[in-house]
Symmetry: D2
């Protein structure tokens, strides 16, 4: 039985395991001050053609979000985020646990607009309410969509005119960057945001997210926050070795491209069979609408997440591809659909 439940069902890309083996008995400094981490950071900077950013390697998305946001904000400041956003719905209140309210903007395609951000800011008029101070976006979003460069520029302008920080959750940034219709690159992100992170866990690493701090004012003392929240791994090399491998020879992008290609084949096959989708997704998450009967049949041989029940006879499922998805997995799934 193959699982399309997510992009973290396997271990790591074999090159990453090999790198761990190759470096295993070399001694180095703890807590992310080792040569591998330094090399990884330099490689990422070179890849994004921006040498002015600060980069820190962390273990997971929730950890990265909560540390970055709590380090960036003062106690009375709040986050603006989409109603679908991971921090709002699927991080067990991690942001609120650091003291900050999340203001939700309703969306059905995972994205929020520059205009809706202005409206939210304007609705907060005085000290009896929180003060919106940071816009959180996900790229790709939790429902597979991506922001265009024009959309990000428009949001950046609003952030500038309303004293808002712009932070992007890149748990699946690789897939977004490698989408056919994408027009945003890492250099753009390092110019348009105040901070963002590049997800490793969902793109071939055992664990690891690279937080990029662009805004100089946010860089100071950041390692204190990592330590205080339990994110400074004694063997920080574990993260450094992986990101060094991912950003050497463009492995990061190859893996994301592969995941997208597998998703594209899946999407094409489903479209051909006449199915529609909850959202337009050019990335590695697809949300097809399927008859419940078909879902029951598929569940015998495939594992996936039932996103939501649409009506009595139909549900939306989530199918996720990854670096580890093979052509055969896609073929098998589409065959099972065709046989219905």
């Amino acid at each position: 039985m193959h699982s399309f439940r997510n992009d973290y069902s396997e271990g790591a890309h074999p090159r990453i395991l090999q790198a761990l083996i190759d470096t295993n008995l070399e001694q180095d400094n703890g807590y992310g001050e080792d040569r591998y981490t330094n090399e990884a950071i330099e490689l990422i900077k070179m890849t994004m053609k921006n040498n002015t950013v600060d980069i820190h390697l962390l273990s997971g998305g929730t950890q990265t979000n909560l540390i970055a946001i709590s380090a960036f904000l003062r106690p009375h400041e709040a986050v603006i985020a989409a109603s679908t956003s991971h921090i709002l719905t699927h991080e067990a209140g991690a942001i609120e646990a650091t003291g900050h309210k999340i203001l939700s903007i309703f969306t059905d395609n995972g994205k929020i607009s520059a205009k809706s951000i202005i409206e939210m800011v304007n609705a907060h008029t005085d000290e009896h309410m929180v003060k919106p101070a940071l816009v959180y976006l996900s790229q790709s979003t939790e429902v597979g969509s991506i922001y265009s460069k024009a959309e990000l520029i428009a949001i950046r302008k609003v952030c500038d005119s309303h004293q808002l920080l712009l932070y992007i959750d890149g748990a699946r940034l690789g897939s977004a960057l490698c989408a056919f219709e994408n027009d945003v690159n890492l250099t753009d992100l390092s110019e348009l945001t105040d901070a963002f992170y590049i997800g490793g866990t969902k793109n071939g690493a055992l664990l690891g997210e690279a937080l990029i701090i662009v805004n100089t004012g946010l860089k100071k003392d950041f390692r204190f926050h990592l330590k205080q929240k339990g994110a400074l791994l004694a063997k920080g090399r574990l993260l450094g070795i992986q990101f060094r491998e991912l950003f050497k020879d463009h492995l990061f992008f190859e893996l994301a491209k592969h995941a997208n290609l597998m998703a594209q084949r899946l999407q094409d096959g489903l479209v051909k069979e006449g199915f529609r989708f909850m959202t337009h997704s050019p990335t590695n998450q697809l949300f097809p609408v399927l008859p419940n009967e078909l879902i029951h049949i598929l569940q015998k041989n495939f594992s996936f997440y039932i996103w939501t029940q649409l009506d009595e006879k139909h549900s939306i499922i989530r199918l996720v591809t990854s670096w580890a998805t093979t052509d055969q997995h896609i073929t098998d799934f589409l065959d099972a659909i065709k046989k219905r």
Copy 2:
């Protein structure tokens, strides 16, 4: 140049890397609900001959301490800890960041006594002060010493009579359990404490600590706290595979014994050369007092931490051994001493 700076300078024991390779392409559930984690937990329970505990796998010591303590305490409750304790001095205020004061008991050997705990509790008389509610011990301590079973039983009694939880930081528990003079085993800990953790990072794992929750009242909803604080790894299998390997065939204990043996050889050699130590340590951390001149000579070929300056001519250094320390490393170091 060999480093005796700490027990996390290398990667992982080769068997752990091999286990990662062997399981790499198997698909499994995320967030610690995979078969490897389940097997690891069962193996740990069998080893401690206690099937009633709850076990969670986390990434590091600071993370484990802050999540456990903040989950266990109500907002007004405080921790009692030794003046040398890691949570007090070397976790960047992680516990206070969750809202809880740490009450410090002065010690020069890393340990606190049952009597000193009673005095601290009695000094807190009303709601104008915090309420002491949890005793934090480290085993082995930050200066290499260990608590005897009699000492732990005495502290447990005080905890019972004063409504205190007993929590043990086991970052270096392996070394403590395998010390020649140790008389405490895992079963004892699972009966004497309310919770404790078994450190993997400093005993051969890439990362990983196993939190054992003994007290039934502390078990409920614990995974919410893991998620909220960013500790629930998407690929939780990474922790499960490692602890499964460590507790299969007693690898965990073999590695700790080896580290202790190396420390013992080092200690014997230093004693033979006439040096004394800051504390009595039967574990893998030694704190010899050395002349500054000798320290300068040693630093040319060895790396270690200068703990504190004792007087104008002497300093205390810290030497740490691990699963990766070899006989040759010890011989080389002692030879360098003899040649002085």
Copy 3:
């Protein structure tokens, strides 16, 4: 110019000031352990015919809400509240600042139903989300409406079946209890809730809210929370003297009845003039829909809050009456309306 902006525009009812004068030079204990506070608490218990509750006197509504809720909940637990609720919109993120998310249920009449609470609980399925643990209601609500006894009983049942605490914000409880159509009394509240508070500030006191803790499990150590959050006034007598006066000879209820009567006259007058209201309010807050032109005229002689713009020509205003509102104030306002 008379202000209908709120029910805290003046000082205190003269009897309260007189009581402060009468007791001024008597020495007594600090921090709420004085005879006046004790007497006030006894009078409140007698009034609610319930001797089993714990009562604490605090300074304001936001303070009471944040201390109670943060004392009652564990870190991962969340609050369910109406979209109109004060804690969600007008307390500057005070609840989130203590670490807890508020889950919002949309309402346009200030009230939430038992059914909507069940739906919210059911939508929270695992540890990736917060755990709903406390239902927050306001009585009267922020838009003047009140819950009937049947509605409260239905919500209580849901709370029981879903392990939820029920907490009622009674900033304007006096007005609710004295509404003509009200069928809930203090005794009911002390049986149906886990905790609630009786607002003094908006019903004739200089400041002061009486928190009633019904649930035995929530009583322990509560004064620690008061102290830790800065709510334990050195001269706690200031609160005790006021509540003693309010609950002696039913002053509390007389003042609330007067405020309601004034609101009723205002409402009758506005209805007679053909105006409609945003919500049905039997309490001291009215939300009439008025033409913008009329609003501009009224603003010359009266002060009030413009709640929201309804359309290009109409807005909803908020008119609040209090113990200090006189017949003449009402007559003047209605005359100004009639003259339009």
Copy 4:
């Protein structure tokens, strides 16, 4: 029986009650935006001859400390304070509850030196420890002593050279400012500190502390913090009216002078009888060493706090005078001593 337990055993100075009565039925804005508060702030600024500060009126000392410190610091930053300091020992962990560690410097006279602050800063070397960022002093201290201008200037210099904020808790600032040997005035404090507060509660008010923010960088958005922590009283006028009265015609200083005079008489009498004191106090708190037998006799007619047991036969007691202490109270107490 007269109580010397503290300076908050009575209500308020009669002029303050009269001011409440005189303004009672005037309507004004809520939340500290009323004319009385504005006038009070202007009077305080005039008195301190400094028009550049921001002033906020709060309800109590713990509340003021926790709001100021949590608003001023980032999450990883810590407070340096004396081992005797109120925030360390008698505020129920209020500062830690906002996430910040307090680093304690041992003292037996209530004061810390510039040198000891430097040592504490130097002991904090990296991100594994908290970052000292704010020095907290009390003036007068918790044991009655005061800092001289030279001492404050020396501490200010250390703060400047080590990027530390200087904050002074002035719960009993009036008594300090009016001590015979004092050489510090409000203008000095508004130049030497980053923020401090002027205590009203312990100098004749019902409640109230005036927080003075000197450092421009700390002023922004401060009212959000007041609201978020529950300190923005709906009837903020209650604080404004009191501080307006205290700073009109120098009432604040008259009351403090009176308290000091009473303490001086008490001290002179005790010295004449041959008793010594725990600390040198020129302010309204005295700590005489008395035989336990005498203490028992005195307790029959006077109430006071037993500070600590010195040896088997002697204890230190605390005697506090206030605006409400009369010559007769002092005479009676000294007579009781003489009669022993």
